[in-house]
């Protein structure tokens, strides 16, 4: 199905991730990341055909987050779109744009700066529908704990992590929270000098399951499996059995351990070689994109003979949605 489509590569990748950025505004961080990505290629914003942004109004504390972010991203005078369902969807949409022939390149950004929020937990609570989940105080941590507790009940070992936040999750089981901005430039084959590519995008799969926690089996990872199936059906060589490494943005380390067991992987696959969840500051809205960027950056550091890395992200409570993007060091292999 994709046989006649152009190859799409990541040609610039910038990460700014800190526990708390108190000297720069979100807009300044966005400008810095965008500018760094463009500078790495010797380009300006005027050389970019379109901009795809991934921001979250509530976490950003901006009523329409695309408004203040378009300028610092470089999108004034350009086609700019915000994909608001998750930052990893922004990466996928940037990829789709190039497959669709909408220009030779696209700058994709995703971010979250919860340190600017008075109460990020409150923002998570307000993401619950008002009738049930908001009343019981649901948030990402509790949803992750519900998922982890069921995994434990099914035999997954508990962790030695201390300082339980919500049983069975301890401080080392949960993703570190922090301020982060990511900027990627994607480009169509032929529009950049061979060798400039950091990674090729082999394919992407994504889907979303039921919002109702009570109607889902929280540990069947059906969203992830469907997303992987999309890739395997379209691009068999990018299926999990050919992955050499995975970067997984789990809601907890329980998720990471389970996911790596749920997927049919070849022996010796590197899993979250970039670091444990607790060591890498992020925020749920952008954590999937963060791991995808780590997957991109892993390409150059793979052992000899290894070539393919998958980035996996989740969105919504307890993995309601999942996205998978498969990258390789050489196109179509």
């Amino acid at each position: 199905m994709m046989g006649n489509k152009p190859g799409v590569a990541v040609v610039a990748s910038v990460t700014i991730a800190v526990a708390s950025e108190s000297t720069k505004s979100l807009e300044e961080m966005i400008f810095e990341a965008s500018n760094s990505a463009l500078n790495s290629l010797g380009l300006t914003a005027m050389d970019i055909d379109s901009f795809v942004l991934g921001g979250n109004d509530q976490i950003d504390g901006r009523v329409i987050s695309i408004m203040p972010s378009t300028g610092p991203a470089g999108g004034v005078g350009k086609d700019t779109t915000m994909i608001a369902s998750s930052a990893d969807h922004a990466l996928i949409y940037g990829y789709l744009r190039l497959l669709a022939g909408q220009g030779k390149n696209v700058l994709v950004m995703g971010w979250a700066k919860p340190s600017e929020s008075v109460d990020p937990d409150r923002a998570e609570l307000m993401s619950c529908e008002p009738f049930l989940l908001r009343q019981i105080g649901m948030n990402n941590t509790i949803a992750a704990a519900l998922q982890a507790s069921k995994l434990v009940s099914q035999g997954l070992e508990t962790s030695n992590s201390t300082g339980k936040f919500a049983w069975p999750l301890g401080d080392r089981d949960l993703p570190a929270r922090g301020d982060s901005v990511y900027a990627l430039v994607l480009a169509v084959e032929g529009s950049f000098t061979p060798g400039e590519e950091i990674a090729w995008i082999e394919d992407a799969g994504w889907t979303t399951m039921s919002y109702e926690l009570g109607s889902r089996d929280l540990i069947d990872f059906s969203a992830l499996k469907i997303a992987i199936e999309q890739i395997s059906n379209r691009t068999p060589h990018a299926s999990p059995k050919n992955w050499d490494a995975i970067e997984i943005a789990g809601d907890s380390e329980f998720t990471v351990r389970s996911v790596s067991r749920e997927i049919e992987l070849k022996p010796g696959v590197e899993i979250n070689k970039s670091g444990a969840l607790a060591d890498l500051p992020t925020s749920p809205f952008v954590s999937g994109l963060a791991r995808m960027v780590m997957a991109i950056n892993r390409i150059k550091h793979l052992p000899a003979g290894a070539n393919m890395v998958a980035g996996i992200g989740f969105n919504g409570f307890a993995g309601q949605g999942a996205a998978v993007v498969v990258f390789s060091g050489s196109k179509g292999e």
């Binding site: 979250n56 109004d57 901006r62 329409i64 700019t80 789709l96 497959l99 993401s127």
Partner: protein, 398 residues
């Protein structure tokens, strides 16, 4: 750029009103999805992917509102993403759906959503918060005062007056009176518009759009799917998007990078779509325009940005009956437009849907006779994000 052919085979919209207390928000979204699918003659099982338009979550009071409506949309297990480009969201979502199909990965994509603007106790208070906290929020700006500044500038630059804006309101209210789905359906006179209470001079109540509640959806298909199933869609022949500066202060004064009287960034977006569609003379080649103009003053400069009148000349056209159903030249907003119905998240989507209905000859009492080529546009943010589209009943030369 060679445009991949993508067709629209289904459009559904609810009757727009101020308030709906009979449905939850997901149920309202479901209405839009079901109406679009029924119009397309397919079921959700035939849909490969879903794109969901939702502008500020704050207006519905639930963050990440897209996650809440997945089940109601029927999108469980399908590729799904949400677009938020402010007021342009509904149309940006259609462009996003177009991209899904043009990528070659999908054949059938549903775009459906809803809004209930009036559920917010004060939409204008929410919208004030879209400006930066340090400077322009404090003025205080909201969408009314922002556009009042634009209207004042237009009046100053082009020697226009409040009657010019009132003519737009009279035209659109007349058109909306013929549209059973429109929110405001009563006709008004120029005298009534001029006598209505001032919101922010020169804008008056009858120059303004309502806060609407309702749902809408579209079904887009690949050319391959349309041929295989012997369908006769409306075709997207051109599309464009462009962005403007965030700062109001950059649009006024001697160092302005864009004049707040005009919509030059929108004109660029129209030109992108025209170039793709082969439109070189819009006044001759286009039959109907469904353009996003929440206030009468906005329609004046959007008509001009679309190339349907020279800058500052749309009032003169209106005065001699242009842009009106049964009048001269291109009919503008035969549905009554955004000024008569504004459910923000899907307003842009409705513009596309109304354009589709026109070129397929099924717009009912507000049908433009013989319409073949239509344009649609949307505006988001503080006149910051622009989307445009050219839609045609066929794939022949325009």
């Amino acid at each position: 750029m060679t445009l991949v052919n993508v067709g629209i085979i289904g459009f559904g919209q609810s009757k727009f009103v101020r308030t709906r207390v009979d449905v939850t928000f997901p149920e309202l979204v479901r209405e839009g999805a079901i109406m679009a699918l029924e119009d397309a003659g397919i079921s959700i099982d035939d849909v490969d992917a879903v794109v969901y338009p939702l502008a500020p979550d704050a207006l519905i009071g639930v963050g990440n509102g897209e996650r809440w409506v997945i089940d109601a949309l029927g999108a469980v297990g399908k590729p799904f993403m949400r677009v938020n480009n402010g007021g342009a969201t509904g149309m940006s979502a259609v462009l996003t759906a177009w991209t899904h199909i043009a990528s070659g990965l999908f054949d059938v994509v549903l775009v459906a959503g809803a809004d209930r603007v009036s559920e917010s106790s004060s939409a204008q208070s929410v919208l004030n918060k879209m400006w930066d906290v340090g400077y322009e929020r404090a003025m205080p700006l909201n969408t009314i005062t922002m556009l009042a500044l634009s209207a004042q500038r237009y009046m100053h630059l082009y020697n226009s007056d409040e009657t010019d804006m009132a003519m737009v309101s009279v035209k659109n209210r007349y058109h909306a009176s013929l549209n059973p789905n429109a929110h405001l359906q009563t006709t008004v006179t120029i005298e009534e518009v001029l006598a209505s209470r001032t919101l922010a001079w020169p804008l008056k109540l009858m120059d303004a759009c309502p806060a609407s509640t309702g749902a809408a959806g579209l079904v887009l298909v690949s050319e391959r799917y349309a041929k295989k199933n012997s369908l006769k869609p409306a075709w997207i022949r051109g599309l464009g998007q462009n962005s403007e500066t965030y700062w109001m202060g950059n649009r006024v004064g001697p160092k302005a990078i864009g004049d707040h009287a005009d919509a030059d960034a929108l004109a660029v977006a129209f030109q992108l779509a025209y170039d793709q569609a082969g439109v070189s003379n819009p006044r001759e080649q286009i039959d109907v325009a469904e353009i996003y103009a929440p206030f009468s003053s906005v329609e004046l400069h959007v008509i001009e940005a679309a190339g349907l009148a020279d800058k500052g000349k749309s009032p003169a056209g209106l005065a001699k009956g242009d842009f009106t159903l049964g009048g001269n030249g291109v009919t503008v907003n035969p549905s009554g437009g955004t000024q008569c119905t504004n459910p923000i998240a899907v307003t842009g989507l409705v513009r596309v849907g109304e354009a589709v209905n026109q070129v397929l000859g099924r717009a009912g009492a507000h049908q433009v006779d013989g319409a073949r080529v239509a344009i649609a546009s949307a505006i988001g943010g503080d006149h910051q994000f622009y989307s445009t589209m050219v839609i045609c009943s066929d794939l022949e030369e325009i």
